[in-house]
Point group: C2
Chain length 246, copies 2
């Protein structure tokens, strides 16, 4: 699909995903939102809770560090425990210091006071933010995420991640959302492959995908047409209908 | 966690994951299996159906191509349609040709004959295999995956992916599976952070992770201890119980 839309990557940070203990929910959630605001998600990576792995991935992914994409959304590793090393790794990657951020501390103290919770060193650890970063509000549990360079650094707990994404999205520079049409056919993918190939060749500005499925022992295929121009998408849909006799 | 286990990456190939249309099931499935046979999954990447992106990821991930890990398991892009470009990209990455493989063709023809299906150019496209690769059987729908260099190339459809994984696993060189113990505490993560940090420092050969959760408005934490030596894991579990008063 041809597009001048801004590009992005998602970087998930966490041993628990790589060990198979936890199934990630955040990448799929954010992928749908980015698609809807015309930000072109080009890559997802999952790395362990390891300083060098996080720094290396940020360098590879964020254009501000010489990497490939305009923005990187991270998830995980900003909690209060010893294995939460994302904020330090991010500070290192962007070459800035890290310190307790007064605004972050205030947000968290307001909540703790309301809940009658103590201010402990472990809790204050979550107010440590790379110098120069902008905070991302967390309506769920107060401890904020932050943005620096092209990176938007968010929590791994799904409810907190979603709350941060909600706060962040209005601040992002959006693109032109793609239009998508899906046709479900009750034939195996190999039966529609040639027709699909011909239509795809006639519409090089669009993306035509085919996704086989199996239901009750029978094979079928979802054909998905995506593009930025809805008239072109409709024209490809009509061409596909004619070619495949739908 | 200290380990001499073989290392691996998973490479998911597919626009539909990046657009948010499809939620991947395969990485989590394989991550659990690799953990159980002592293969250390160190990275997951998702890239689009794009030749350069696939070749670039294989070079970055497979030690045989100068990349980081001993093995790479791919999922997606080996079907019969024009957007199934994984086999060609893999052949290119490993510098070999690609041609219709006689064994792959036979496997598929046996099935098609049994089902009364025609042999079409689109179906035969799935028998195109990089020269020198070893086939991975597919009990689900016949068209095989293949192994070449450190790469094991499998289908994206979950039922087919699982069938191929089942065929492949007995051929992999396993490591020593980690032992894992989980303790659930009904306290927020920040309350256990200091005790956890102390125990983690006393057991540098183990991995201690903490995973916060929220249930019915209350915060709790799962503490996970992983390591290769079960006596050490039990010792850390006892130390954690003492330190946190569990």
């Amino acid at each position: 699909m041809q597009s001048d839309n801004p590009t992005a990557a998602i970087l998930l940070i966490g041993d628990e995903i790589l060990s198979g203990r936890t199934r990630d929910l955040n990448a799929h959630h954010l992928a749908g939102i980015l698609n809807g605001i015309g930000i072109d998600l080009r890559e997802i990576r999952v790395v362990p809770d390891d300083h060098a792995a996080i720094v290396g991935a940020l360098r590879a992914l964020d254009r501000h560090l010489g990497g490939d994409w305009d923005m990187v959304f991270t998830s995980g590793g900003i909690g209060p425990t010893h294995d939460d090393i994302t904020a330090d790794a991010v500070a290192d990657a962007y070459g800035v210091g890290i310190e307790v951020n007064a605004d972050a501390r205030r947000m968290m103290e307001e909540r703790w006071t309301r809940l009658g919770m103590e201010i402990t060193p472990a809790r204050l650890r979550m107010a440590r933010i790379p110098v120069g970063a902008t905070l991302i509000e967390n309506a769920e549990s107060a401890a904020p995420g932050f943005s620096i360079g092209g990176a938007h650094v968010m929590a791994g707990v799904p409810s907190v991640f979603r709350s941060m994404v909600e706060a962040l999205v209005p601040r992002l520079n959006p693109g032109r959302p793609p239009v998508s049409r899906t046709v479900r056919v009750e034939r195996p993918e190999s039966d529609v492959a040639e027709g699909l190939r011909e239509v795809a060749a006639a519409f090089p500005d669009l993306s035509l995908g085919s996704y086989p499925f199996r239901e009750e022992g029978r094979f079928g295929t979802n054909l998905v047409i995506r593009g930025l121009d809805s008239a072109r998408v409709e024209a490809a849909l009509a061409a596909l209908g004619t070619r495949l006799g739908l």
